[in-house]
Amino acid sequence: MINKIALSVGNALAGVKDGSTVLIGGFGTAGNPTELIDGLIAQGAKDLTVVNNNAGNGETGLAALLKTGRVRKLICSFPRQADSHVFDALYRSGRIELELVPQGNLAERLRAAGAGIGAFFCPTAYGTELARGKETREINGRHCVLEYPIHGDVALVKAERGDRWGNLIYHKSARNFGPVMATAAKHTVATVHEIVELGALDPEAIVTPGIHVSCIVRIERVATQAGGIKVSA
């Protein structure tokens, strides 16, 4: 019998090794798997490469992981935010490496990893600093840049509802990078707020089929906090 339900975040993350590439879902705080990041901090893996759209908000979640000093490199599209001070300080003091990637390349490089694509040519960033040193080719009259996939050892994803086969649905724009990261890692862990019986999720509406999910953990629902913006007190 297949049962991907893990009893705890600790169980789900037990195998994460030092030096892993960890794909972390979320766009700002929406879809950020805070409980799994806290679990990763407790688990203790270090020398990590983290892939996320941003670079953490405030002091919690990804920011807290960065603060431990266990992240060697961050691959992201938009690190600078109103509340990214933890990353900012690490970057300015040279304690973290940054690979800045246009957001569409970030998504597509993850997709390519999940789909077994060796590399792809795309016009984004042609002629800019972010394409410097990369192979280019003119295809159908457009200048394109060669981009390689981003493979994850582990993906941490926040979903809404799942079943024991690992099928997932998401919540509003918290879906963002979750489905594509789930396909791109060897070991994908998803949190859900509700675990339902097989057949209860509408098969026409399942977003991530369980084949891409290694284990799911149920967590309590906590309202997503604002992030990345200036919030008046």
């Binding site: 705080t29 984004t124 509003k172």
Partner: protein, 214 residues
């Protein structure tokens, strides 16, 4: 010196909105371009795309109704219109990169007369770089329009012969909407679409420092 009135931010937003056709799929960049949504002429149905996986993005929610799982590219809470859809990031950027978005409206630091765009970095040493979806949008949308002030606070033109800031994309901007004039970028240089009443052509060229075809 002739006398003319600059377009206010809302007048500029209305000027941009005037050119958005019924049925258009539109992505509005962070900052000033978001104002365009408030000025879509009555009777036109325009579908707003947000890079983080939304089509049919609606207005700001009422106070107390915010859900931070439903945000725009600037990470501010928004709503979804009936008929709207959510999708993941690779699909969202495929909409841009695949040429499915009719129009994107972006802010800019500089635009060149041939449509090169600089809007992601001022290249200052020590500044933390951030690009987000700007390069994908600028290059991928069917039409990229820029909405910005023509002049910096110091009076320098942000429309230039060659961008000095790091580029977002090459020859990607079709139109520039500003507080004084609307300009078209062509391989041969700038072309005038319109200007505010009372501003002479020669005076505009002097402010921009470039020839503008009438």
């Amino acid at each position: 010196m002739s006398s003319y009135q600059k377009r206010s931010k809302d007048e500029l937003a209305a000027r941009v909105a005037h050119d958005i056709h019924d049925g258009a799929y539109v992505n509005l960049g962070i900052g000033m371009p978001t104002l365009v949504a408030n000025h879509i002429p009555a009777g036109r149905e325009v579908i707003l795309h947000s890079e983080n996986g939304i089509l049919g993005m609606g207005a700001v929610p009422a106070a107390g109704q915010e859900d931070f799982d439903l945000i725009n590219a600037g990470k501010q809470p928004v709503t979804l219109l009936p008929g709207g859809a959510y999708f993941h990031h690779a699909d969202s950027f495929a909409m841009m990169r695949g040429g499915h978005i009719d129009i994107c409206v972006l802010g800019a630091f500089q635009v060149s007369s041939t449509g090169d765009l600089a809007n992601w970095s001022t290249g200052e040493p020590g500044a933390i770089p951030a690009v987000g979806g700007a390069m994908d949008l600028a290059t991928g949308a069917r039409q990229t329009w820029v909405m910005m002030d023509l002049l910096t606070r110091q009076g320098a033109s942000k429309v230039v012969e060659h961008c000095t800031y790091p580029l977002t994309g090459m020859a990607c901007v079709k139109r520039i909407y500003t507080e004084l004039a609307t300009l078209q970028c062509t391989p041969a240089g700038l072309k005038l679409i319109d200007k505010v009443e009372g501003l002479g052509h020669a005076e505009l060229e002097k402010l921009v420092g470039l020839t503008i075809a009438a």
